[in-house]
């Protein structure tokens, strides 16, 4: 009878391993480390290697990235004055990451982005008042840092976590 067969299927599942991942406390290592490298999590910008080409700003379909470049008319020097990414509006499509020539803007495997106020979710990779020099190909590449460290530090400072 089909009912008995169905009951047998159901009973056999009582002996199988459950699929649940009991996040965040009963897993061997944090989930961010087990996600694949291609995962499209929160964005992160390493402003040390940003060339200020503005390709990411133009590629974004919903204008999530705001970059301000200040050009000194005498010395013809450019400085990046503002690099904001609105993580609340971002749809994590990856179009900006594809256009970046130096991989300065890239996805991380972070996904937990809760902050007390929604304004805190605008990630300001250049703090107000600072200036950054755009990267030039002849410069030496800076030391590598762990992917996700910059964004994690930003979010932690917003949440008041040290």
């Amino acid at each position: 009878m089909s009912v008995l067969e169905g009951m047998a299927v159901t009973f056999s599942w009582l002996f199988r391993r459950p699929y649940t991942v009991q996040w965040p406390d009963k897993i061997p290592e944090p989930l961010e480390k087990t996600l694949p490298a291609t995962y499209r999590g929160l964005l992160e910008v390493d402003t040390r290697i940003c060339t200020a080409c503005l390709a990411c700003e133009k590629a974004c379909p919903i204008e999530v990235i705001a970059i301000e470049v200040d050009r000194n008319s005498e010395t013809k020097e450019r400085h990046i004055v503002r690099f904001d990414v609105d993580a609340a509006k971002c749809m994590y499509c990856g179009l900006c990451v594809e256009q970046c020539p130096t991989d300065a803007i890239h996805h991380t495997t972070l996904f937990a982005a809760t902050t007390p106020d929604i304004g805190d979710l605008v990630l300001t990779f250049i703090k107000p008042g600072e200036r950054a020099l755009p990267f030039k190909p002849k410069d030496a590449p800076p030391a590598a840092i762990e992917r996700g460290a910059i964004t994690q530090a930003l979010l932690d400072s917003r949440r008041g976590v040290e």
């Binding site: 009912v3 008995l4 067969e5 169905g6 009951m7 047998a8 299927v9 159901t10 009973f11 056999s12 599942w13 009582l14 002996f15 199988r16 391993r17 459950p18 699929y19 649940t20 009991q22 009963k26």
Partner: protein, 411 residues
Amino acid sequence: MWKLTQEFIHKFIPAFEHAWLAYIAGALVAALALLAFASLFAGLASYVERRIAGRIMSRVGPNRVGPQGLFQFVADGLKLVMKEDLVPAGADPILFRIAPYFVFAGMFGTFVVLPFGAHLVAADLDVGIFYLMAITSFVVLGIMLGGWSSNSKWSLFGGLRSAAQIISYEIPAGIALLSVAIFAGTLSTQGIINAQGGLPWDWFAFHSPFSLVAFVIYFIAALAEGNRTPFDLPEAESELVAGYCTEYSGFRFVVFFFAEWANLWIMSAISVLCFLGGWKIPFVNAPEAYSGWLWILLGFVIFSVKTLALVTVVMQLRWTLPRFRLDQMMNLCWKYLIPGAFAALLGTMTVMALFSWDSPAGIAIRFCTFLVGALVVLYYIWRIVANYRADSANYKKLTGQSMWYPPWRLP
């Protein structure tokens, strides 16, 4: 049991010498004990069902509140009691408030005649089975009142569907129990158990193929009485959210909730006592042997084990089968179950008339029916193993872990 309580009270509290006072005290004690048992069972049953449902669906049930999630039902009860006491605008003020208590009374009243052990029954009424059928009809009243007085069309749907269902399915249930009464010669529940024995082929279910049919019909009808899948149209979650109890919140919802889970125990307990031998221990058949408290305790354990096994089967059925549509359910009852129940009744009477209990032909029939039952169970176990083996090798290759994770290994 109330006789024991009476003696106890006489011994220790001489003031309670008047019979009627001791009677009332005994009744109160019995009622409180049953209420405690029923509440504890209802809460634990809801927790165990959620764990079992979780493992069937390849996930883990509640396991955070308390050790392995054991206090989940306490948390749920507390939460529901602390909710706002809503009465929908336009709902009938009196009927809305009393509807849950009809359901509760109809359900809880059956605990009185359930024999938990040899001398452990609150009131051994002479009309035990008849009383059971009568008092479970109260539930219909409560559900219809709840559905109507909620002033919501969807609740009304649920209430009317449920009324039709419960009223219809009382008939095959009653006829199946009638065959039990004819076999046992008495309507009292203790009498029915005393007419059966401890070994499986002494149970009434395996008395003849007709009684096996009566057992199955009673089980299906009891599922329908308790609004359990596959008959849970009144509370069809995907259509009516919660049917007749959609508009209820807070304590009144606790009462409905409690009634549904305690009903699991009742339907299983009645099946066990009528068809599966109740508290009778195998190889201990003489009623005098059940005077020592050790034997009584063993009888209670056996009764509980059998009832819990049936409760587990009911729970598993809920997560396996889809639900019937209203007209299909009515068809099943009136066109298949009622003629089947009548046929089972006539067959049982014929077998009882032709072959007596101890004659070789009678024993042979009982044994053969028991073999049929055992073969069905063995086939079931074989299919379970086959289903498990169908996937275990591929799972190991895909995930690198073994698939064996028995339910007693708690995550």
